[in-house]
């Protein structure tokens, strides 16, 4: 029997409450979850069930109201905003449903940003950005502005930006939600490829295709995990 790898991400009894104008929304309750390095996890559930909230906690965009969160063995639930920004910059890559490229930066500059914030020198930056743009098949579009690209191309730029810093985990929130089927397929293939190359991937999605590829599907309802299905693939 092989030894179990130590998990990359661990949520223990995590809850998240939003308080707005005296109304409390319990977006997540009592969530236990751990994700191992190299896993491909899909998160599914109806609208409002807490998927995005879960992803924002995993990506250290927000802090849990209760419970503990370990990232690579380190307790990150109570880190300061600055410390969380560092972890995000080094270890987390994000892909959004609505691409979220900066409209007046070129493709190259958009992809370069995480490295800029990391303080990488310009020469190394350039080489690394070229490399990932080649990888998403946009090596010839470096100087275009996002508006000059199709939706699918924009999302590939977003993926390139997410992986340019070689993060330990790639998080995506309905990455194909705004794409037609042909472009969806291309992006999904790309994510699958990244997973095959060893990346840890965690995706909120309704796509059959993706859930089929995922090693595990986490189903949420009203802020609770109601089922974890292991799938046959991967």
């Amino acid at each position: 029997m092989s030894r179990e790898p130590s998990p990359l991400l661990t949520l223990d009894a995590v809850g998240k409450v939003y308080v707005n104008d005296e109304i409390e929304t319990h977006a997540l309750r009592d969530v236990y979850l751990s994700i191992d390095p190299g896993e491909f996890v899909a998160i599914a559930g109806p609208s409002g069930s807490g998927k995005t909230t879960l992803l924002s906690l995993l990506g250290l965009l927000d802090v849990p109201s209760a419970g503990t969160y370990r990232f690579g063995g380190e307790d990150v639930a109570r880190l300061s905003a600055t410390a969380r920004a560092r972890v995000r910059n080094l270890d987390v890559g994000f892909v959004f449903q609505s691409f979220n490229l900066i409209a007046d930066l070129t493709v190259f500059e958009n992809v370069e940003l995480p490295l800029v914030y990391r303080g990488v020198d310009p020469r190394t930056r350039r080489a690394r950005v070229r490399e990932v743009l080649e990888r998403v098949d946009l090596g010839n579009r470096t100087d275009h502005l996002p508006t000059q690209l199709s939706g699918g191309q924009q999302q590939r730029v977003a993926v390139a930006r997410a992986i340019v810093g070689a993060p330990r985990v790639l998080l995506a929130d309905e990455p194909t939600g705004n794409l037609d089927s042909a472009n969806s397929t291309a992006v999904m293939e790309l994510l699958r490829e990244l997973h095959r190359g060893g990346s840890t991937v965690c995706i909120v999605t309704h796509e059959r295709q993706l859930t089929r590829w995922a090693g595990r599907i986490i189903r949420l309802l009203d802020g609770r995990i109601v089922a974890e299905d292991a799938t046959e693939a991967a």
Partner: protein, 802 residues
Amino acid sequence: MTTLADDLRQAWRQLRRQPGVALAIVATLTLALGVNTALFSILRAVVFGAVPVHDPDALVAIYTVDRKNPGHMPVSDATAFDVRDALGDEVPLTFFAVRSVAVATPEGRTQVAAILATANYFDVIGVPPALGTGFTATADVGADVDEVVVSHAFWRSHLAADPDVVGQRIVVEGVPLTIVGVGPEGFAGTNLFDASVFVPYASHGAVFPEVPWFGMRRFLAFEILARLPESLPFEVFDARITAIAERIAAANPDEIGTRRLHAVPFAHAILGPDQRATVVLAAALGGTIVGFVLLVACANAANLLLARASTRHGELALRGVLGATPGRLLRQALFEALLLAGCAGLLSIAIAPTLRDGLWLLRPPLLQMASLQPAIDGRVLGFTAAATLATGLIFGAAPALRAARIDVTSPLRHHATAGAASHRRVRSALVVTQVALSFVALLAAGLLLRSVTNATAVDPGFAVDELAAFDLHATPTAAAQITDALADMPGIEAAAVASQLPFGHNEFRRTIAVDAPTRSDAPTGLLVRTASVDPGWRAAMGIAELAGRDFHGDDDSKHPMVAIVNDTFAAVYWDGGTPVGQNIRFAGVRDPVRIVGVVTTTKTGSVTETPQPFVYIPLAQWPHQADLQLVVRSSAPEAAIEAVMAALEARDDATVSRPRRLTEDRDAALGPMRSAAVLLLLFGALAVALATSGIHAVMTYAVRQRTREIGIRMALGAQAHHVHRQLLGEAVALVLVGNGLGVAGGLILQHALTDHLFAVPLGDAITFGGVALVVTVAALAAAWCPARAATRIDPARAIHHR
């Protein structure tokens, strides 16, 4: 280092992306910083005395003070010599007096101010001549010397800027003197009287044989300037002067009495140490208000940046997601603000000289001295740099803090409205601040204007509107002939001469005691303003007689000495009854002086003064050594001025100069207040204009941002006027709160200014109400158009607006 470059690059890019916003901010700040720089340059010159002498900080002036009487007086030459001897060679010391002289050049005769100064004058103050030398004389007593230095301005205006002028002669007070030098450009002495010629003290016997000042300790006519060596701190020097003064007093008890000496830094002496307080206060007020203008501009800039930041909310959040730390986002936003401020700072330096020249034109007569030149030098630039930095930090603070607190989860949400409500609160607070600041700025102007109007309406106690005045350089005999001749001219009702006129600079105070007062609290001696006048003077001025008689032709040196007092003087010594027939005594004069008449109290220094005791004495008993003042009464004073000038041109035993209406002197005495009022009115208007444009921008932006909300309201049946009224109502609320704060600030300001305002009740309804009206109307006008525009929103499209 690379992060810094990246931050700068990004800041630059942001500015280029919305050049309109950047331009608006830079333009506003440039104007505000430019005005601040210009005013600072002026205030520095005025408060710290930018007079072109060498190392002014090492110069010290010495004045006479007297515990019995407030204020700083000049020093006698006898005492000045004693001080110089006591100090020795370690402290170079010069003293000088100013006197009006008649000068004849090849271009004609003119009346100018002369400085009679010790031989070392130019060396001590450190002013190198433009042509020739300074005084060549080395001694101040003994040999008569024949030399004169002329000012650069005089050389140009009266000597045709002749490069070979050195060695030529001009005639000063009838004495031909050889020109040995021309002073440097911009130099006209170190005080208010712009001097055209400089005569060595040693020649006073030849040039001023009749002037009685010399060697007399009672005649306080000289100003002392000493240059301290670096080793001698001011405090030590001041103590030494105090000790020297005690010794001089001990040696001359009768003449010195309670008078002592007091050292004052040169910068404080330039405008006169007693006038300085007013100037400093005006400077502080002007500086505060112009600072308000800058704050209003900062609020504008902050508002525009915040408005823009909310359109960039998504982008900022995304940068946060990708790992930009809060500190970095904060720095980034501050960088942008500083970059904008920096551009504005540089541009403001470019426009500052023009603004300074414009503001300088508004200065009061007190500051019309040629030597005073506000420069835009290193220190001013240092001020601008500091103000620019502060400006950037102030208006960048709110956007920067907001950037640092950005909600990084928002890119995951589809409509990022988070933060909008609190944005609106901050921007509303900024609008309220702008309204309040511009209210106070305008109010400062309003209060002063009101004072000036009140003061101008005061009846000074004589026929100020019908009087024309002249400086008259003539002997007493010639002066008497002139007044007789003028009084016979058609259109002229009366003419008279006196040593002093009301609102003049040359007031003469004498210490007077009374033989038999009836009041138990009567002072033993009183320093009283006096004037020597001719018999027709009271009637010509239109001053009311209360008791006794006028002076007449027999009140001369062969008859007993007489005086006329005003009722304020009478009230100091006597409980009712008339003092006619009572004796008063002048310090240093043996014979008693009998009061022969009582007149009403008139304004003498300024229309805002409290009633002052005054004693009139006959010119024929108290000959006046300097120029006389000629007054002419006429119902058409302007025409009378022409007639008098024409009539006196032919006489070669008299020179008239400075023709003017007496109302001009009255207004000149109000000059500092009037200048301050006009200046503040400019700044107040600028503040209101900036605030107005800020409100317009904020409203426009708010309407755009609320398009969807407004569209929904309209879809639900809101009429155009509902929308209009609602938006305008919100603006009115902000403006009212701003006005409320403005009133509070205004009351504090008025309280601080109490002593400098004239007959303006605290919280004066007209001033406060007027300012509130102006500010409110301007603000609502600014809000009107954007609110109108909102009513034209198409609800169908607005609902799908993102």
